[in-house]
Symmetry: D2
Subunit: 248 residues, 4 copies
């Protein structure tokens, strides 16, 4: 279906890996490097991957990079407030014009996701190294393809309900944790011409992104969010339409 590779940009705030030794021990080159490698390994010639980080000019997301991005993967945790409003607006607009967005883990705190969804995205949370079981409650969509039921993550930060998001268009996974909480651990949304996939597993101190099952979800999600290979698309605009404008 895709005549050219899916152009993926992995964005990472890249803060914790440079601050904490135990994070660096898990992701020595940064989470963005690990995620980029996942997409390269999983999609091979079907993806062209680059990375971008917070401390680059324009956070590594100038117009020309976003224009050349079909799917943006977003990882942030500690520095949500350091994102410039203009860059958050730019990413929102680009999603509305057709770029896919895969928002990972702590993304509920990100301006980008909050602007696209309109809510606080608040979650309940706890860092206690609990086991997370990810159950598939909708096996039909491509995002669920090839996954064990349940998918077991040995150690994870707990994210629990209530999760203050709009009702997702499609709910594929529900997680439970050692402590008994549950979480809608993935959520699919369409906004404008763009598709948004939120996926909660993946923490800076646990090697979650090295699990093959998690890598499969990321690959499935990249295909889904690319939605057939994005040509450059325009923003929807109000349009004054004369009577019978559609007549042949």
């Amino acid at each position: 279906m895709n005549v050219r590779p899916i152009r993926v940009t992995v964005w990472n705030e890249y803060v914790c890996e440079r601050t904490y030794e135990e994070v660096r021990a898990v992701y020595p080159e940064g989470i963005h490097a690990a995620l980029a490698q996942v997409i390269r390994d999983q999609l091979g010639a079907n993806a062209a991957v680059r990375t971008a980080t917070l401390d680059q000019p324009e956070h590594g997301l100038p117009e020309e990079v976003l224009e050349a991005t079909d799917v943006l993967i977003w990882w942030a945790h500690a520095a949500h407030d350091r994102i410039a409003d203009a860059i958050a607006d730019r990413v929102q607009q680009r999603v509305l014009r057709g770029m896919g967005l895969i928002a990972l883990h702590s993304a509920p705190g990100a301006k980008v996701l909050q602007r696209l969804l309109g809510t606080t995205c608040a979650v309940r949370w706890r860092e206690d190294g609990e086991r997370e079981l990810v159950w598939t409650v909708n096996p039909s969509p491509p995002i669920a393809a090839g996954l064990p039921h349940p998918l077991i993550i040995p150690k994870q930060e707990m994210y629990g309900e209530f999760f203050d998001i709009p009702e997702p268009e499609e709910l594929v996974f529900i997680s439970s944790y050692t402590g008994g909480e549950v979480f809608r651990s993935d959520c699919c949304f369409t906004r404008g011409r763009g598709r948004i996939f939120y996926f909660s597993p993946g923490h800076e101190s646990y090697p979650v992104y090295y699990q093959p099952e998690i890598q499969r979800v990321l690959a499935n999600a990249t295909h889904w969010a690319a939605n057939g290979g994005a040509v450059r698309r325009t923003l929807y605009m109000p349009e004054n339409s004369a009577m019978g404008w559609f007549e042949p």
Copy 2:
């Protein structure tokens, strides 16, 4: 809103209570009697409650009873196969004409629910007296009103995903169990003019229906399923409509 009481019929197969002493110990008059008392206590003068059981003529559900029922509460577990097809069809038709249906616990095995939903309604299950935590993932609908988060059920049968139902129109509760499984423990559906509420908590050997929080859910669901007080309503029928039939 309701000019007259909601007419509630509680239906129970009434088998286990007469077979097993430990069930009788929990529900000495039958689960239907206990459920009827719950609705009477919770809704008071706003409800008129009767009961019906499997071994009555026409399973206690002759036409005139169903016609005079605004909300039917269904409890069955061991004798799904003993329901006559004609009665299952009749209940389905009555729901399509506007009767609410509250399908409890083992109802996924019931012909009535399977006909209305079209799927197997298969569930994963285990009887091990586990604790169930019922989490509210959608606090807005009236069904969620007045409930603790989580609602704790000390001992329950486990019902786990995948639950083979159509995607619910509204998902209010998700449960987790000691064993780690999760379940969409309530599901709201509209079929024809009728509203259907499935709610999994409630087992014949555990005193779940005596918990005040569970009673609150049943009361909320009765109001929701009654949908403003059912007048007698007709089935939707194909309708040949002349051009301009709606002109004043």
Copy 3:
């Protein structure tokens, strides 16, 4: 159900009525005055209604007014850009904390709606005095209660698809127009603790809000958006929760 009246604030930019004689001829006291009268007539003692307009200090929406508002009705058309960002943010936050919002007609251009929904809300449009037929495609929700099928509006501005909004949680009405276009003419959303009802009928030059059927929709929507009578509610916030925090 409501122990006290629903506190309704009708907000209007109040521009066209003071600019164009033909608008003033339809709504001599302003659209806000007409809408306020509708709610008073329809809800009687069950509503306490006030109005606010763009040119008042803080656009008539200081904190204390919004705090004392259960349902905000929003009418704007020509002056969306004149709303201060701080006021738009304030309204968004108040909706997330539980205030209902009824967004009428040209509201897709309003910052308030765009922030809550995250999309452009772009529509196709044409001012040609066409007849609009409003068809009920979901008769079950209270919003559809008591309406003719179709509801006929003799003259209206055309709003046509594609309408760039998130998929609505509930779609009750679909409109067609003389020119052949269709429109999802109402859309129900929940955002945070608040409920949002968008309803397209209602133009400054046509006497749409004087139609009894339209007034019925506004009454139904006010009850729905009030959602049981709003107590003052807090914003959802991220919450660090110790293992077992919910144990009795």
Copy 4:
């Protein structure tokens, strides 16, 4: 993605074409032959197409045919009552085990669709050769790919709301007609492991299936309903699961 061609069976009651000359004039070999040709033309080597009709033994749908079918296209209009219950049950079960179903035009009267959806599927209708405009209200899914907006059908039977179906999981098209009625002209459902696509355009007396845009919808829908190429799949079954059954 598909390692082998999608196996498509086109089923037609094949009654009107043999009864009425004006129908035969449009579809001289039967609607099934025309539809089969559409799929062959559109999918080429990616589809293996066969046909089946009502008057064949077991209506042309013995177990081995259904087992070897990934997508079943269903056309029926005048002879819904002549389908044997056992065959309707068999088709339902096969859909629940993963076969896609594309239900065309008059399929709301078909036992197969009614069993899978649980409702009457009643529609308003009129045969008056009106123009139908098919508007895309959700441009994101693959089913909408490559279509004009609106898609214009010069002459069609009118199908109007209210359409008594469960709320569709995804609504892509809404039609309007010369007479002013509207219709949710496609509806996507998942039931068990199977996907169901209902599409109203297509009448025995009008050459709708010869329109390239309609053929594109049928091709898109075949890919969607095949859902990745169906391996033989099992029915979901209740499953007693020991504590920790999923432990490695």
